[in-house]
């Protein structure tokens, strides 16, 4: 099974992952930094998570398959 992680040290709250895949990435109310809300990615979610990984300006997102 695949999963995706956001490195909290690298995330600076650009919010592009949430725009690409809100069902996978949510934003903290206090500062807009991202966190992952799914334990495992469904096969349908993998390309969305990959999209977020590619689009992250801080390269804070990693998809692990």
């Amino acid at each position: 099974m695949a999963r995706v992680v956001v490195d909290p040290e690298l995330c600076q709250g650009h919010t592009l992952c949430n725009m690409a895949a809100p069902e996978i990435f949510q934003l903290r109310e206090e500062d807009g930094h991202a966190y992952v809300v799914v334990d495992q990615l469904t096969p349908e979610q993998v390309p969305l998570a990959r999209k977020a990984e590619l689009g992250c300006p801080e390269r804070a997102i990693t998809v692990e398959e």
């Binding site: 650009h14 725009m19 109310e29 590619l54 689009g55 300006p57």
Partner: protein
Amino acid sequence: MATDDRVVVEFDQHAPEYRETYPAPAHELREQCPVAWSTRHEGFWVVTGHEELSALSKRADLLSNDHDPEGVRNGYQGISIPERGTTRGGFIEMDPPEQSEYRRVLNPFLSPAAVVQWQPLIDDFTRACIDEVIETGHLDFVDDFANIVPAVLTMAMLGLPLADWEIYCEPAHMQVYTAPDSPNFDHMLETTSRMVERLAEYVEIRKTEPRPGMITALLNAKVMGEFLPDEGIIGTVTLLIGGGFDTTTSLLAGALDWLDTRTEERARLVDDADYLVSATEEFLRYFTPAQGGGRTVTQDCEVAGFTFSAGDRMFLSYAMCNHDPASFPDPDEILLDRFPNPHAAFGLGVHRCIGSNLARLDFKIMLREALRRIPDYRIDPAGTERYESIGTINGYKHLPATFTPGRREGPPLAEVMETWQARLDAEPAPENLRAGAV
């Protein structure tokens, strides 16, 4: 200094040639070296490679934003190259952990969840500004539109009188477009210091008359049991005015100018919300309103294969890195559905633009409404005037256009201003933690 193998260039981001040929200088510089040494402005590294920028931006431990004009800490010159002003420019001219404390206070006002609450204000002022000109068939997209809405919004969020936007408008723009060698530079410094004095008065007033907003939040904040210093708060309020007034304005002007001849794109931006989302990122990448940031190297070090010495100055050119073909194929084309687009228009690392969520919301509403209500506008190139220097902000002084007149959709701007001021005044004052503490 000349004994190493650095690539030496003569680059000046404030020069008219840079403005006239942007983004071409990005490629000329990068092909020589993605981290080159410019001999201008007493010497500085200029970073034009996106990969190198990513590596450098993570090193807030080696690259300082500090500005210490009085030389009490390190004498560093802050984020402007050449050094600008005799005071620190708020938290963007601080390093962590001090910088983080200011951001911790302000983040709750600027998070995605918080900024959405301002959408009704943005909607109303956007509508009213267009109404003011819709029956005439001509407008200046900068003076009549893009200058007003972001500025009023900034006033509201700070907890300042809305109508005062007009007092800060000229100084806020002048401070970013005046080149260091301009004959108007001294005049700009005077105008800026008058603006800062006025803001300082308001910070003082808010100590006894708290209002909802960022100024009172800064006044109420404590770090290690101490209130934040006045100087840091005043610098921060000045920074928020600059960031709030000028950057969204510049992005809108750039987008509307580019869309002048693109009627198909205009129509799709009105109808297709997803297209507007990706287009916003692409306009940010291409124009990069806040062009870059200056840093000072804190110790001898090596990053991304380049060797730096303590005290070296460095210009992280977000704009030129956003045109690096290694990360952005066909970088000088505006492709409104570009993906991926991991641009650096808001900066990278711990200094990421704190207002990015607000800027996106404001920009999308304003662009969509301008295109919806003024669908056939044509820019008047003879009246178009860009900033004299785009080295700080890539923007426009004037962007006049003509169009087929239309109909008003609501009450006039002055009435909207009064209605919103009354609405904000009716909100209960926050607790004043300084009462009795001074």
